[in-house]
């Protein structure tokens, strides 16, 4: 018995030392990310398998916080890479000249929308996320409300005070929806639709996933939010349907890029190469239905079918250029009359 314990302890010690020795040859690579918590471990494992000399160290927060933090640190960047962050944020970084120009191996075979069409290659797309409707069927049944098949349905009077969406000035998800409506319906019709929707909105929330969480908890009947949040709330047991309105949905994508001036450039390039592989894209597709690599298809549990077809023709450049103008107009229309409803 005792010798068995000794043997186990010795084995443990040896393994521990070996592990420590292995860890010493590794270089720490700090990656800023807005990936979900449960994605971090598998991503780290996959990267470190492909690039064994790297030890991935995540700094993770919500898109807004991590973007603000990165911009605040821009005179002395602490990150080696950003990965799993909204492409619009990477465009902001790029504009400030903070990203390294590097074209990962095999990037040309990715779908067109997932890489820069012109100029230096500073970012690479990973997967697309969509602005969808989380519709609480249990609460809707109580109020006899039919499921909204289209955006226009959400402007009907039975939804008065029962809809929440992210505030476009606080949340990238809110802005991608507003930008989506303006691009797909045209500016005039887009604003007219939002005027109607505003009459039904109970509240504009300061987070991209909170509206779906509120719908899932039965606080609201409909929450306009991220596709992935809808799928995961449903998997946890919420009585919700994730609906893609028939006019099509606005979207954005997650992307990665190398921080200019990183001390670990060679290593970061290897991780960037990993990011464009089929293998990495298969990992992305565990959470998101639409990924950059052609032919990688997987519908995560409870994810709505037909998502790729529902995506509108979206111009990320247009979104970036018109952001200030659109937000100012939005604020003028809907924030000035701040009278709180339900």
């Amino acid at each position: 018995m005792r010798s068995w314990i000794t043997a186990a302890l010795t084995a443990g010690l040896v393994c521990g030392l070996a592990g420590a020795a292995a860890a010493q040859t590794k270089t720490r690579l700090t990656i800023y990310t807005a990936l979900e918590n449960d994605q971090l471990a598998p991503f780290k494992r996959s990267i470190e398998t492909k690039v064994p000399e790297a030890e991935v160290v995540w700094v993770r927060d919500s898109t807004g916080v991590i973007t603000a933090r990165f911009m605040a640190e821009k005179d002395n960047p602490r990150a080696d890479m950003v990965l799993g962050l909204a492409a619009s944020s990477l465009l902001v970084f790029d504009k400030a000249g903070l990203l390294e120009d590097y074209k990962p191996a095999g990037v040309d075979q990715l779908k067109d929308t997932f890489r820069p069409t012109k100029g230096p290659h500073t970012w690479t797309g990973m997967d697309a996320f969509l602005g969808v409707v989380c519709f609480n069927t249990a609460e809707a049944a109580k109020d006899k409300i039919a499921a909204p098949g289209s955006w226009a349905d959400l402007t009907k009077p039975e939804f008065r005070g029962k809809v929440v969406m992210p505030h476009p000035a606080s949340s990238g998800t809110g802005y991608l929806m507003v930008a989506g409506w303006l691009q797909s319906m045209g500016e005039e019709k887009g604003w007219a639709f939002m005027d109607g929707l505003h009459a039904n909105i109970a509240s504009y929330l300061h987070s991209g996933s909170a509206p779906c969480v509120q719908a899932a908890r039965g606080e609201r009947v409909a929450g306009l939010a991220l596709d992935m949040r809808g799928a995961s709330e449903k998997s946890k047991g919420a009585p919700i349907d994730v609906i893609l309105p028939k006019e099509g949905v606005g979207w954005e994508e997650e992307a990665f890029g190398i921080v200019k001036g990183t001390k670990n450039l060679a290593l970061a390039k290897k991780v960037a190469d990993w990011g464009a592989t089929r293998e990495a894209n298969e990992l992305y597709s565990k959470t998101y239905a639409i990924v950059a690599y052609p032919g990688v298809e997987n519908t995560p549990p409870n994810y709505p079918a037909g998502a790729e077809k529902a995506m509108i023709k979206n111009d990320l450049g247009w979104m970036a250029e018109n952001r200030e103008r659109v937000l100012a107009e939005w604020s003028k229309r809907y924030e000035a009359k701040a009278a709180p409803k339900n």
């Binding site: 471990a41 927060d61 973007t67 603000a68 509240s203 300061h206 606080e219 919420a238």
Partner: protein, 572 residues
């Protein structure tokens, strides 16, 4: 480190041969004040300045004068936000201060039983991350809440929710200050009043209230500024109701527009500067309550008043415990409101958070260091400002710096720290990303209330102690170590616990500062809530609450021990 130096000076000074000092006492005082000012500049003023100076720059850093202010003040939503902020803060203050005063009165001036428990119960909100109150309130009054009928068809998402949550959040802060103000009183005044046959109401009006005036006014400003600058509660439960702090959040986190965020930050400073000026005016009229000849007041048994106060405290404490109890209960629920099966799964943090329980231990370490270093700095600083007579300008400036942090939203302090400590030219930039920066930031962030507690306790001590020491040629640091610190032990422990629990729960500033290895439990809670795992967030928050309550109980035990040893002289 500098407080270690200050502490060292006190310890060596306490050695029995003070007269052979090469520096004169006045020079030491001046030097220490200078050190204090330098330290406060480094941890408060410079980081703030490095963010607030962005208000006169455009996005690329070019100087644009007051253009950002012009843009901001011509925005139609500003007036609404400003009005909303002031209205909510005024209402919350009007409710909290009388509540806190009455509660503090019951704790210090009655013969109510279970005072320690009542005190701990009212401090519960400060033990809990503010998100927990918001979670509770939605479970109680939300559209699926079991008491939603109590709002008569009004929604919890909006001003009602903000005010309720802010009252809970601000109550302990006001209570701590009022307890400090009421804890020390000269029993002789009450004996004289009694001997003259004064009616109790008149005693209250002419003896008790004037003595507590400083605490009352301080707490009113603390509550007002806390509410004005808090964005956590309005963000979660404010609905359509815009306030200044959420405006700052939209600018900084929503749009990375630091110049405009800085503009809002400067607007928010206005109440703090007002508070500082009023505080100075009131202070000039404040008379020390506890003269060297004072006899501590021992409350007499007053059956009617004691039972009324017990009922009052029971109601307040019951409301507080009930509210937070709901959140703790929620942490054992599978999926609210559709699957109410009890479960322990939410405490298995590995399922929701890659680092499992690690953030909890990091928080514990960070909070303990904050309490240790912070208490030493704050109390020594307050003593230098209150009790030394040298270098008036330095003391005035230090007092001003100490009052600043409360008026600044955590968001602004946090970003200021990024700009200041991450600058390539800052020799201290190796601190960035370490646990040390989190500790320094938390000390700075919570400086004001701790400082006010220390000041309130010190003001109630007669200057005669110093005068007698001076005539006996005993330097002030000996008086400080041998007299002031022992007498003030209850307030010092209060400060330590206050800093500890705030270190455990703080989010808004540290969210920009934590590094890969120094993620805090409070930040993990926000992440879990964002990920929709509300029950797990409530679970981690409950773990924090339990820890903070443990710290408070330890303080009660220690306080009893300290009281027994060091305060015995007070009792006749």
């Amino acid at each position: 480190m500098a407080e270690a130096v200050a502490g060292g000076a006190i310890l060596t000074g306490a050695a029995p041969h003070p007269r052979r000092m090469s520096l004169s006492e006045a020079a030491v005082a001046r030097l220490l004040i200078l050190l204090l000012v330098a330290l406060l500049l480094g941890i408060i003023a410079l980081p703030l300045a490095s963010l607030l100076s962005k208000s006169v720059e455009d996005g690329s850093g070019a100087f644009v004068g007051l253009r950002n202010f012009a843009t901001y003040f011509s925005t139609p939503t500003l007036v609404a936000s400003l009005f909303n902020s002031v209205a909510v803060a005024a209402l919350a203050t009007a409710i909290v201060v009388p509540l806190a005063f009455t509660y503090a009165y019951a704790l210090t001036r009655s013969r109510m039983r279970l005072k320690g428990l009542f005190y701990a119960a009212a401090l519960l909100p400060v033990f809990a991350p503010s998100l927990l109150a918001a979670i509770s309130l939605t479970y109680i009054f939300g559209n699926q809440g079991f008491l939603r009928g109590a709002l008569f068809g009004n929604s919890i998402y909006g001003p009602i929710g903000i005010v309720i949550a802010e009252i809970l959040y601000a109550l302990p802060h006001a209570l701590v200050i009022n307890v400090a103000a009421l804890a020390l009183a000269d029993g002789r005044l009450y004996e004289a009043a009694e001997a003259l046959g004064t009616r109790p109401a008149r005693v209250f009006r002419t003896v008790t209230l004037p003595g507590a005036r400083y605490g009352l006014i301080s707490s009113a400003f603390v509550v007002f500024t806390l509410v004005v600058t808090d964005f956590g509660i309005p963000k979660v439960i404010g609905g359509q109701f815009n306030v200044l702090a959420t405006d700052a959040y939209k600018q900084v986190v929503g749009q990375q527009n630091f110049p405009m965020g800085a503009v809002v930050g400067i607007v928010l400073l206005a109440p703090a500067i007002l508070a500082f000026l009023v505080e100075r005016t009131v202070q000039r009229r404040q008379v020390a309550l506890l003269s060297a000849r004072a006899v501590p007041l021992e409350p007499k048994r007053r059956p009617l008043a004691d039972s009324l106060l017990t009922v009052f405290c029971g109601l307040v404490a019951g409301t507080v415990i009930g509210t937070y109890g709901v959140a703790v209960w929620a942490s054992f629920i599978t999926y609210w409101p559709y699957n109410l099966t009890p479960t322990l799964a939410n405490y298995d943090f590995e399922r929701f958070e890659p680092s499992g329980w690690d953030p909890y231990w990091t928080s514990l370490k960070m909070a303990a260091l904050t309490a240790l270093l912070g208490t030493g700095l704050v109390f020594t600083g307050a003593y230098l400002i209150e009790k030394t007579k040298q270098f008036g300008a330095g003391r005035f400036f230090a007092q001003f710096l100490a009052m600043l942090p409360m008026a600044v939203p955590g968001l602004v302090i946090g970003l200021g720290y990024v700009f200041f400590f991450n600058a390539p030219s800052n020799p201290l930039n190796w601190l960035y990303g370490t646990l040390a920066i989190l500790v320094i930031n938390s000390v700075a962030h919570f400086y004001t209330v701790a400082h006010m507690t220390a000041t309130t306790a010190l003001k109630n001590l007669d200057g005669e102690f110093e005068a007698v020491s001076a005539s006996l040629k005993i330097p002030f640091w000996v008086t400080f170590a041998r007299v002031t610190v022992p007498i003030s032990m209850p307030a010092i422990l209060d400060i330590a616990v206050y800093l500890f629990v705030n270190g455990m729960t703080t989010v808004s500033a540290v969210i920009f500062l934590y590094g890969a290895e120094t993620k805090l439990a409070s930040v993990a809670i926000v992440h879990m809530d964002e990920a929709g795992t509300t029950s797990a967030a409530a679970a981690m928050a409950s773990a924090i609450v339990l820890t903070a309550i443990g710290a408070k109980l330890a303080q009660l035990g220690l306080s009893r021990f300290v009281f027994a040893r060091l305060q015995r002289w007070r009792v006749r």
